[in-house]
Every structure is written in structure tokens, then in C-alpha cells.
Symmetry: C2
């Protein structure tokens, strides 16, 4: 089965071939958890053109497994898949690069060009588990440094799905004067204990892999087996009962009869294994640990006690909040509570609940609804 | 935190101290998947008294991690916890041992007294992965052998939650003359692709543990780390968003502030780790593999094509079907479809959907509702 079908490349409506940029920062970043990053690098991409008064910038924030490469291609090789949200960014798309200057930054702690646990520490060795514990707040602080350097004082919008939505929301609380609009999509204002349970189980799968070796594996075998299991757990939480039924049902990998064999028999098993194997080729296990920890610690009311208190000082930002019916990872209820609280303190909120059965991944899959909602909001 | 609080032992309403029996079978068991068990042993317990015409027997079937020890105690040691469904079985309880002769049999493939992959094979070595692949059908065939030996031709009822419900239902299809009532509780008539995905991820966690060693570990270290992760995945699927919130919220293991440390910080993490560690002390990893495979293969319409066809010949059995609102592992919809199909072919069905937020585990937790529904049905 071809799980990675790549359609024929069409540059029309695409941002085309783009490159990843890098920016280095020498002054230390003080982290919420008490640690310090003495220096760091950020990888980022931009699409479209920054206007004269620098007022048309939209920061797209990526999710757990994402990176700075949102849209377009890095080469002319037709077998290369596009960026992770190519459907969303380009001329005429929901983030219209004909109007907006769109940028995306690989989070600190990441493994796709920005400084993370696999990066060289001041002693010349990889950080490994000596890397300081991160929060979503810290990711946003690092992003603000890059925006300073690019001369962008105020973003037209921060936007993101899943962990990207957490960053988009954190921007408003951390830098209320610097964000005109927050697009908070398929996300949660606080990780639930069930979210933490799923993340912790993935981390335990990594810890259980002897190749993980306390995080010291950069000169040897990586903990691929553990990271692959973690990714499988993640994938289950991104789908839903109906989307599993539609995609796989009880179909077999081969043939129409059960083989009653111990090998992989059901199509859904092969799919998950493939997702795990593919993931370990591009992702660092320690980054998985650090970013899931940041997810767990995310609670926008931290230090405030309530949504109302957290957003009392956020007086010039408007909010678009989008949830999906079958998203059991980040159920709509918490976003609805956030929307209600924002309205109670006088903020403008546009809230959409989309009837979609694709689970958490709906925000990537429901391109038509998203174009209508996000494109409409930004029009 | 004491996760395993054991209340003071009270023998009133309890079946008291009981013992596990064993029965050996020498004639081969032909399995649905094509394999053969040349001989096997079954561990079982009984509570109450078989009446003169042997018409008051109820077979309780256990779930994935269960065993024959449903109720009561094995010793007088007050620190010993009771059987896994002690609330359900005893004088005056929902399975009233004043009226019924209740028995429970550890499934074949199990590791709690019945023949399974850890048992000695004909060559004197443990079966390991040479043990034949099992189905729920095979578990029931083995149980029927024991009932023959005990002189029980017709069961008053088969009953079970989760995988126990699958066996209870399979009994009606395999032996329609031998079951008067099926009590199908928090179960599914077919494993969904999401169920299979969760099980396969647990299996991959076991495979990834080098101690698993292709199933050959009985003379060395067991794959505890992998089995523990599998159990953690299972536990998440047995709870629900609201029950996670109620039990743990975002509380910390210690103190009221985040430690921003890499160790376990949230209470829910400690709980899951504890569940994993406790499980590996009593459960065999290969059994986990075989039983989850049996779960995956379970589809009561297998070989029939529809519920109506599967139950066309089941003309003298009545059904009690119970589902729970927050059970996302085995959602109510499939049981509702089963109930509707059974009614279409003229079977008597009593169906209850219980509003409970405890997830799949509700069938063990909602003792009051269960006493009313199951006790009422059996009264």
C-alpha cells in the first residue's frame, strides 16, 4: 500500500521553491522553568512580501512534529513532498501570500534547524538531557527575538493548530501589544490530564528503549523503536473512531481473509508501523521528550488562576477560535470555555465548531471548511 | 500516594476464602486459526452451589487482564486484595451466590493458571511464540470442555464486561442450545480499527523491548519495560476525559507548583507508571500479545456477514446489553446496532445505556447501576 502518495507537482497556487533561513542569537534566553539557553539558533521560512509599514505579517506556529517548512518545496525534485500545511499557504489560499507576509519558525527544543537537545552545547558535546526544560512561553519568547530582528513590531496575526494554537494564544498573553489577531485552531488552552497521560506514555516508550541511554545516543544508535511507539500513540490520538473506520475498517494488509498469524495482518497495523518508521527518520527522540513536556506544562491560566485574569491585559487583540467535533485530543469544550471567558472580559471572539469526523487532524484535512473560516476571517 | 488502598476486610456479603481449581484436558483442541493445542489446563473458581438439575450456573468471562479469581480471597492475610469483581459476586450481590452457581475460567492463552505461551510445550520448553494464535471462539471452545466435565449442559447465563462480553456473546453463537441468557456489558461485537490500533501499539512496545527477544525470555529478564508501556496505553483507553479530570486534574505528584523538571511531575504520570509497574509483576508479556490478537480478530459476524445471519440459529437465548456513555474504547453505537439486529430477528433484548463518566471502566465502578440492571435482570 502506498501511504505516501505525492500528487503531481503543480506550481500554480503554490509558493514554489523556498529556502529555510537561520538566525543566531547570542544573548541568553531566560526560561520560565529556571533554566537558561546561553545562545540559540532559529530556523524559519517566509512566504509572500512584508509590506512597507510591516503590518501584514502572520506568524504560523507549528505543532509537535512540525517544522518551519510550512509550504512549497525545497528543491525541484518532483518526488519531494510539499511543506506540512501547503494547502493553507499560497496565493489565494487561506493564508493568502498575495496579501500577507507569512512566516514560520521551528520552535526552540526542536530538531529541524533550531537549537534543541541534539545541538552542540557550550562544552562542544550535544546537550542531550542537559538541555533546559522548556515551555510554550519560552518558545514564544525566542520567536519574539527573531521578529525584533526582522523589524516586525506588531503581527497581524499569530496562528496555529494543536501546539501551534497554544503558541498563538501565548503570544497574546506574553506580548499583548504585538498581536492584532490570534487564530486558535484545534487546540486547548490547557493540557488535560488525558493529554499528559498520552504524552507520558510516549515518553516512557522512549525511556524504555535501551538505545535512548539517558539521552546520550548521538554518537550511536538512536532509540528508533521507542520513538516509533511514541509516534504510534500520537497518531491514534490524532484520528477518531469514524476516521479509523473510513480509512481502514477491518481490512487486511493483503487478501480478504484473516491469516491468524502473528505478523501484521490488519491494514491499520501496517499504517501505524509505517508512520512510526517514517517519523524516526526525521525526528529526534529527545526533542520529542522536551516538546511533549512543554505541551504538558501548557496552561494559559498558569500564574493567573482564570482565563479572565490571564486576558485582562490583552485589550487590543481579537480571536478566531476553531474546534472540530471529533477531536477527542483537544475537545471543543475547553475552547468554548475560553471563548466565553474572553467575551466576558469584552474581547471580540469569532468561534466556529466544525462538524468533521477526522479527529484532531481535521484542521489539516478539512481544507474547504478551513478556507471558508480562516480565509473569511483574514479577508 | 497510595494507589492500592485496601479497605478493611469484611466477610459479610463476601464469598470469603476460596481456592482456584485446575482441570487438565488431554484431547487436542483444534483452533479456528488452524493451529492445535495438543493438551491444555484450565484454572477456574466457583462460588455458590450448583443446584440438583444443574440449571443455575452462570459463567463469568474475564477481560484482557483478568483471571479466574473473580471474588473473595485466597488467604486470610488481611493485606490481600479481593478478586477483580468482588463487588459483583456474593450473597445478595448482582450475581447472587445465594441463588446462582457462579464460575470463572482463566482463558486459554492466559498466564494465571491456564495453558498459555509461558506453559511447557510438548518438547519441555515454554511455548513462547510457538503457541498457536488464538481467537475468542477458541477460548469458548475450551470453556465448553470444562462445563462438560462439570456436568453443566446448559448455562443459565454467560456474562462479562469488555473481552468477557465478547466471550459471553460468542457462547450464544457457538453453543446456542447451551446458553439461556447472555449478559453483554461494556463490550463490542467487533473490534474496531481504533481498538486494533491501540492493541498493536501496545504489542509494538513489547516487541521493542530487547528483553522480549522474540518471545524467548522465560529463562532471563522479562520485557517489563515494554509490557508496562502497553499497560499504560491500555489504562488510558479504560478511562475518559472526565474521569481523568476528576481523578487527577493537573495536580502535581508533590506540592502545588510545577517543578519544570524532567522527572515525573504530574500526579497522572505517577499513577500510570504505578499501573505499569504493578501489572508486570502479575502478567506475562506473551499472553498480552496473544490475547490482544484474539481481541483484534473478534468480529461476531465473521463467517456470517451480518448480525442477523450470525444469530439466526440462536433461537432460545435472551440478551442483556449494557453500555456506558463515556466508554470511548467500545462506544455504545455498535452495541445498539447489535441490539437492533437481534430484535429484527425476533430475539428478546433488554438494553441499557448508562450515563456514567468513568469511561470503559464504568462497568467495574458503577456498582449501584450495575446492581440495579444486572441484579434486576437476574432476579
Amino acid at each position: 500500500m502506498d501511504y505516501d502518495f505525492i500528487p503531481q507537482r503543480v506550481y500554480e497556487g503554490s509558493v514554489g521553491v523556498v529556502q529555510t533561513h537561520h538566525a543566531d542569537f547570542d544573548s541568553p534566553l531566560q526560561l520560565r522553568g529556571g533554566g537558561v539557553l546561553p545562545a540559540f539558533r532559529l530556523a524559519y521560512e517566509t512566504y509572500g512580501t512584508l509590506n512597507a509599514d510591516h503590518s501584514n505579517a502572520i506568524l504560523i506556529c507549528h505543532a509537535l512534529s512540525g517544522d518551519a517548512h510550512v509550504a512549497g518545496y525545497h528543491t525541484d525534485d518532483p518526488s519531494e513532498p510539499p511543506g506540512w500545511w501547503d494547502e493553507a499557504v499560497g496565493p489565494g489560499k487561506m493564508f493568502d501570500t498575495g496579501r500577507y507576509f507569512v512566516l514560520c519558525i521551528n520552535v526552540i527544543g526542536g530538531c529541524r534547524g533550531s537549537t534543541g537537545p541534539a545541538s552542540e552545547s557550550p562544552d562542544g558535546q550535544p546537550w542531550g538531557l542537559r538541555f533546559p526544560v522548556l515551555t510554550v512561553y519560552d518558545m514564544v519568547q525566542a520567536q519574539a527575538r527573531l521578529l525584533d530582528r526582522l523589524g516586525i513590531q506588531r503581527l497581524y496575526a499569530t496562528a496555529g493548530g494543536s501546539m501551534g494554537g497554544m503558541q498563538a494564544l501565548e503570544w497574546a498573553v506574553s506580548f499583548p501589544e504585538r498581536v492584532a489577531n490570534v487564530l486558535f485552531i484545534a487546540s486547548t488552552p490547557r493540557s488535560t490530564p488525558m493529554n499528559i497521560a498520552l504524552n507520558e506514555t510516549g515518553r516512557q516508550a522512549i525511556y524504555a528503549d535501551p538505545n535512548w541511554n539517558g539521552g546520550h545516543y548521538y554518537s550511536g544508535q538512536a532509540p528508533d523503536a521507542g520513538l516509533s511507539v511514541a509516534r504510534m500513540i500520537g497518531h491514534i490520538s490524532y484520528l477518531s473512531d469514524p476516521s479509523f473506520e473510513r480509512k481502514f475498517g477491518r481490512r487486511f494488509q493483503a487478501g480478504t481473509e484473516p491469516r491468524y498469524a502473528f505478523e501484521t495482518d490488519f491494514a491499520v497495523e501496517g499504517y501505524l508501523q509505517h508512520q512510526g518508521e517514517k517519523f524516526v527518520r526525521r525526528f529526534d527522540a529527545n526533542t520529542y521528550l522536551y516538546i511533549t513536556k512543554a505541551l504538558d506544562y501548557f496552561d494559559i491560566t498558569e500564574g493567573y488562576g482564570s482565563y479572565e485574569a490571564a486576558f485582562a491585559h490583552v485589550t487590543s487583540t481579537q480571536f478566531l477560535i476553531v474546534t472540530f467535533e471529533s477531536d477527542w485530543l483537544y475537545p471543543a469544550g475547553a475552547s468554548e470555555q475560553l471563548a466565553a471567558a474572553l467575551r466576558r472580559v469584552g474581547r471580540e471572539v469569532e468561534y466556529h465548531h466544525v462538524q468533521a469526523d477526522g479527529g484532531h487532524d481535521s484542521f489539516l484535512v478539512e481544507v474547504g471548511s478551513m478556507l471558508r473560516i480562516v480565509g473569511g476571517y483574514l479577508a
